[in-house]
C-alpha cells in the first residue's frame, strides 16, 4: 500500500532522513521505533507532505506522492494523528471531528465514529481543549476515520497517557485494523507496540537499521529499552 524508497528529508540545512526504505502492506499495522530525534516523526511528516524539502520516492496506492501537497495526500486517504494530538483548541469537539470533509465510500459515518469513541458524542459541543489527554487522543484518531482515510499515521498515541487509557487506545487501534485500515505507528512504548503491531522498523540517525518481528522485539526488549533511553 505504501512503499518508500531512498527518502531523504531536510529541515533547513539539517539532513534528517538519510535514505529511508520501508513498505507497509494493506491491512498491516507497522511501527517505527527509535530514540528521540531519530527521525520517526519526520518520516510521518514526510509521508503526509508536511516537510518542504524531501527527495526519493513515496508510492501510495500506486501513485507517486513525493511532490504532492498535504492537501492532495490527505484526499488520497492518508490520515495524520500528530504527536501532540493536533487538537484545534479553539474549536469544539464536533468542529474538530468534522474539520476534514468526508472523502469517498471509506468515510465512517458519525454514528460509527461515536460507536468506537462514545465519549466524543457526549462532549461534542465542548471546546476540544477541555478534553482530557486520553479523550483528545481519541478525538485525534477519530478525525481521519470520519474523513475516510484508509491509511493512518499515528505518532506516539500512548505518550503521556495512563495505562488504563493506553489499553483503550490499543483496543481502538485493533478495531481499526479489523475494519481493514492500515496503520503506520510511531511508538516508544514497546509493550504497547508489540501488542498492536505486526512488525517493526528500528530507526537510528535518520536511517532504518533493522526490521524486527514481534518476537524479536520481545526477546531483545532489555537492550532495545537501553538503546531508546526509556
Amino acid at each position: 500500500m505504501l512503499k518508500i524508497t531512498n527518502l531523504d528529508s531536510f529541515y533547513g540545512e539539517s539532513h534528517v532522513l538519510q535514505g529511508i526504505d520501508l513498505n507497509v502492506e494493506a491491512g498491516e499495522v507497522v511501527t517505527l521505533i527509535g530514540r528521540n530525534g531519530a527521525g520517526k516523526t519526520t518520516t510521518l511528516k514526510s509521508i503526509i507532505g508536511d516537510i518542504p524539502r524531501r527527495t526519493g520516492s513515496i508510492v501510495f496506492n500506486n501513485a507517486e506522492i513525493i511532490n504532492a501537497t498535504s492537501e492532495q495526500i490527505c484526499k488520497m486517504g492518508v490520515g495524520l494523528v500528530p504527536d501532540d494530538r493536533g487538537i484545534f483548541s479553539t474549536l469544539s469537539v464536533y468542529e474538530n471531528l468534522t474539520i476534514g470533509r468526508p472523502v469517498g465510500p471509506q468515510a465512517w459515518p458519525l454514528s460509527r465514529v461515536y460507536e468506537l469513541f462514545p465519549v466524543l458524542k457526549d462532549r461534542n459541543a465542548q471546546k476540544a481543549s477541555s478534553l482530557s489527554g486520553g479523550e483528545q487522543q481519541m478525538l485525534a484518531i477519530a478525525r481521519p476515520l470520519y474523513m475516510g482515510s484508509t491509511f493512518l499515521l499515528l505518532d506516539e498515541p500512548s505518550e503521556g497517557l495512563a495505562p488504563v487509557i493506553i489499553d483503550a487506545i490499543g483496543s481502538a487501534i485493533q478495531q481499526i485494523k479489523a475494519a481493514g485500515l492500515t496503520v503506520l505507528l510511531v511508538e516508544q512504548n514497546l509493550p504497547f507496540a508489540t501488542e498492536v503491531a505486526d512488525r517493526h522498523y528500528l530507526l537510528e540517525n535518520g536511517r532504518i537499521v533493522r526490521e524486527m518481528s514481534n518476537s524479536e522485539v520481545a526477546t531483545e526488549e532489555e537492550s532495545l529499552l537501553a538503546h531508546l533511553g526509556v
Partner: protein, 642 residues
C-alpha cells in the same frame, strides 16, 4: 433628554465605523499575527471610490458600498499575496514598516489623482434622506442606517466565525495552519479570503462614511490610530473585544464631547493606557502575545564588534566633519540630530528588544520645556536647554516605571498612548506652548564665546555632543550592562532564572534612551529656532523607526545613515516633486522586502557573516524544528507547563 440620546446615537455612528475597522484589523491579527497599518488607507480608498462613483456616475450608496468593498478587498488580497506574505513569521516591526510604507504610497498616489476635501451627500438615496421619528428621538435616517449596518455586519461576522463550518476552518487555519493542510484545508485560500474580507470591511466603512465625513486622502490617518488603540485595548485578535471597544470608543468620545470637548480625541488613548496597565491582556482575552519572541534579525556579535571598533568610529567621524561641505549646515545639523534621535530609539529596539512608537514624547517635551522656559520665563538658553533635557528625562523615568514591565506590542502601544497624551497636553496649554502656532524666535545664544547663531558653528557644537553621546553609548554597549541588556533581549526568563532583575535592566535602557532623544530634540529645536506640534506628533515617533531600519538596526551608525538618507531625500524631493512620501514609501517597502538588516547591516552581513559561516546545523529533532514559511504562533512554544 433627547439631546443626550442623540449624542449617544452619534457615538454609536462613529463607534460603528471604528468597530468595522477594528473588526477587520482583529481578524487579520488573529489570523496572521500581523498588524495591518495600511488599514486606514483602505478606509480612505473606500470613501474615495464611493465619492468618485457618486460624483461622476451618480451612483447611490448601495453601489458605492458594493464597489468599495470589492475593490478594496481585492487590493488588500493582492497586496497580501504579493508582498505581505513574504514577511510572515518575522518581527512585528517589519510588517508594520511595510504596511506603513504601503499606506504612504497609497495616500500619495490618491492625492496625485484625486484631491478632494468634502463630503459626498449626493450618495444618499431618497429612502435614506431626512429624519425618522423613533418615538423618543428624531434622528437622521442615514445615520441610523450606519448604526444598523455596522451592528448587523459585526454580528454577522461573529456568527460566521463562531457558528459555521467556514468559521471553524478559519479558526483552525489561524491556530495551526500546517496541520489544517493535513486535513485537506486550503490554508492559503483561507488566509487570502480572510484578508479580502477584512479589507472589504474597511472599504465598506469608508464608503459608508463618505456622505457624512470629509473625504480626503488623509482621512485614514486619524482612523488608524484610534483603531489600533481600540484593537489593543479590546485584546489583540479578540473579535468581540474589538467590536465592543469600537462602539465603546465612539460613545466615550461622544460623552467627552459634552464634558471636556478638547479631550475627546485623546480619551481613547488614555483608556487604552489605563486598560493595559490594569489588565495587561486587554479587556477580552485575545491571542496571548506577551511571549511574542523577537523575530527580527539581530546583528551577530561579529558584526556588532565591527561597529564598536575604532576604524568604524574614525570613518563616521570623517563623514561627520565633511558633511557640512556637501549640504547646508542647517540640513547637516538636521541629519545628525535626527540620527541621534534614531540612535536613542535603536538603543531600545536593537539592544533592549523594545519597539517604541512614542519616542517623540521626549523629543518634543525637551524642546517645549526649553522653549517655554526661554520664551515665557526668559531663562538663558543654556539653562533652558539643560532643564528641558533634565525634565524630559525625568518624565522618561516616570513612564519607564510603567513601561519596563511590558514587552512586545503592549510596550509599543503604551509608548504610543503616552506620546498621544503628551501631544494632547502640549496642545492644551496653548497659552504657553503656542498651540498650533508653536513657539517661534528661540535664540541659540552663545557658548564659551562662540556665536551659535552661526549655522556652521552650531553644527560643530551639535556634532561634538553627538560624538560624545555615541562614544559613551559604545562604551556602554561593551560593558557588563551592555551584555546583560542583550541577554534580557534574547531570553528574559533565562536572565531571571540566574538572578537578573530584568525590570531594572530595561528601565535603565529606557531612561537612557529618553535622555538621548531629549538631547537631540532640544538641539533640534534650537537648530530651527522654533518648536511646533510636529515635534510631538506621532509621525515624529515613526521617523526614527524608519531611519533605523533603513540604515540598519543595531549598527550604531546605521540609524544616522538612515536619517541622512531620509532627510536628504525629503529635502531634494520636495524641490523637484510633490510626491516625496510616495518615493519614501517605496524606499521603505524595498528595504523591508529585500534588505531587512538595513543598508549598513546588510552589507556588513554579506562581508563578515557569509564567508565565515561554516557549520550551519540545527537540532535534528523533527519535533522541534519550526517551519517559518507559515505564521509562527509562538505562544505554544512558550507554554512548556508540562
Amino acid at each position: 433628554m433627547s439631546y443626550y440620546i442623540s449624542l449617544l446615537f452619534n457615538g454609536l455612528v462613529s463607534g460603528g465605523f471604528v468597530a468595522l475597522m477594528s473588526l477587520g484589523m482583529s481578524i487579520i491579527f488573529g489570523m496572521m499575527r500581523i498588524v495591518n497599518f495600511m488599514h486606514g488607507s483602505l478606509y480612505m480608498l473606500g470613501a474615495i471610490i464611493a465619492y468618485f462613483l457618486g460624483f461622476y456616475f451618480g451612483a447611490s450608496i448601495w453601489i458605492g458600498m458594493l464597489a468599495a468593498s470589492i475593490l478594496v478587498g481585492v487590493l488588500g488580497a493582492i497586496l497580501e499575496r504579493t508582498l505581505i506574505r513574504r514577511l510572515y513569521g518575522l518581527d512585528l516591526a517589519y510588517i508594520l514598516i511595510l504596511t506603513t510604507g504601503l499606506s504612504l504610497f497609497l495616500e500619495d498616489t490618491v492625492r496625485n489623482f484625486y484631491s478632494v476635501t468634502s463630503s459626498a451627500p449626493f450618495l444618499v438615496p431618497q429612502v435614506l434622506k431626512g429624519a425618522v421619528n423613533l418615538g423618543f428621538i428624531v434622528y437622521p435616517k442615514y445615520r441610523l442606517f450606519v448604526v444598523v449596518v455596522s451592528i448587523l455586519l459585526c454580528l454577522g461576522t461573529w456568527f460566521a466565525l463562531e457558528r459555521t463550518r467556514l468559521g471553524a476552518l478559519v479558526r483552525a487555519a489561524s491556530e495551526r495552519p500546517s496541520l489544517l493542510k493535513c486535513f485537506g484545508g486550503n490554508v492559503p485560500l483561507l488566509i487570502s479570503g480572510s484578508f479580502f474580507f477584512a479589507c472589504a470591511l474597511a472599504g465598506l466603512a469608508g464608503a459608508l462614511s463618505a456622505p457624512m465625513r470629509n473625504v480626503s486622502p488623509y482621512m485614514g490617518q486619524e482612523m488608524i490610530n484610534i483603531v489600533f488603540a481600540v484593537v489593543v485595548a479590546g485584546g489583540m485578535g479578540s473579535i468581540a473585544g474589538s467590536v465592543v471597544m469600537g462602539f465603546a470608543s465612539g460613545i466615550l468620545q461622544a460623552l467627552m464631547a459634552i464634558v471636556y470637548p478638547q479631550a475627546s480625541t485623546v480619551i481613547i488613548y488614555v483608556l487604552m493606557l489605563v486598560i493595559l496597565v490594569v489588565r495587561p491582556g486587554g479587556i477580552f482575552s485575545g491571542v496571548d502575545i506577551s511571549q511574542f519572541p523577537l523575530h527580527y534579525t539581530p546583528m551577530t556579535e561579529r558584526v556588532r564588534a565591527f561597529f564598536l571598533s575604532r576604524p568604524a568610529a574614525m570613518v563616521a567621524l570623517a563623514v561627520g566633519f565633511l558633511l557640512p561641505w556637501f549640504v547646508y549646515p542647517i540640513l547637516a545639523t538636521d541629519i545628525i540630530l535626527w540620527g541621534l534621535f534614531a540612535v536613542g530609539f535603536d538603543l531600545l529596539f536593537a539592544y533592549a528588544g523594545l519597539l517604541s512608537f512614542g519616542q517623540a514624547a521626549y523629543w518634543g517635551t525637551a524642546a517645549y520645556v526649553m522653549g517655554v522656559l526661554a520664551m515665557t520665563f526668559g531663562a538663558p538658553t543654556w539653562l533652558a536647554f539643560i532643564a528641558g533635557v533634565a525634565i524630559s528625562t525625568t518624565l522618561g523615568l516616570f513612564f519607564g516605571l510603567i513601561l519596563a514591565r511590558k514587552k512586545g506590542i503592549y510596550f509599543s502601544m503604551i509608548t504610543f498612548a503616552i506620546s498621544a497624551i503628551i501631544a494632547f497636553v502640549v496642545n492644551q496649554f496653548a497659552d504657553y506652548t503656542g498651540g498650533e502656532d508653536g513657539l517661534h524666535g528661540l535664540s541659540r545664544g552663545t557658548l564659551f564665546g562662540m556665536d551659535l547663531q552661526n549655522d556652521r558653528v552650531y553644527y560643530h557644537v551639535c556634532m561634538a555632543i553627538v560624538i560624545l553621546v555615541i562614544f559613551f553609548l559604545c562604551r556602554l554597549l561593551k560593558s557588563p550592562y551592555g551584555l546583560s541588556l542583550l541577554g534580557a533581549r534574547e531570553n528574559e526568563r533565562r536572565m531571571m532564572s540566574v538572578g537578573y532583575n530584568v525590570f531594572f535592566l530595561r528601565l535603565k535602557a529606557y531612561v537612557l534612551s529618553a535622555f538621548i532623544v531629549s538631547t537631540a530634540g532640544a538641539l533640534y529645536a534650537l537648530n530651527h529656532q522654533f518648536v511646533t506640534l510636529e515635534m510631538v506628533n506621532w509621525r515624529a515617533s515613526g521617523e526614527p523607526v524608519m531611519m533605523t531600519l533603513l540604515g540598519g538596526a543595531g549598527t550604531i551608525f546605521g540609524p544616522v545613515l538612515g536619517a541622512g538618507i531620509v532627510v536628504v531625500m525629503r529635502n531634494a524631493l520636495s524641490s523637484i516633486t510633490d510626491n516625496g512620501s510616495l518615493y519614501l514609501g517605496l524606499l521603505f517597502i524595498t528595504v523591508i522586502l529585500f534588505a531587512r538588516r538595513g543598508i549598513l547591516g546588510e552589507s556588513l552581513h554579506n562581508i563578515l557573516d557569509r564567508q565565515q559561516n561554516t557549520s550551519p546545523h540545527n537540532g535534528s529533532d523533527g519535533k522541534t524544528a519550526g517551519n517559518h514559511s507559515e505564521p509562527v504562533h509562538s505562544s505554544k512554544e512558550a507554554a512548556d507547563v508540562d
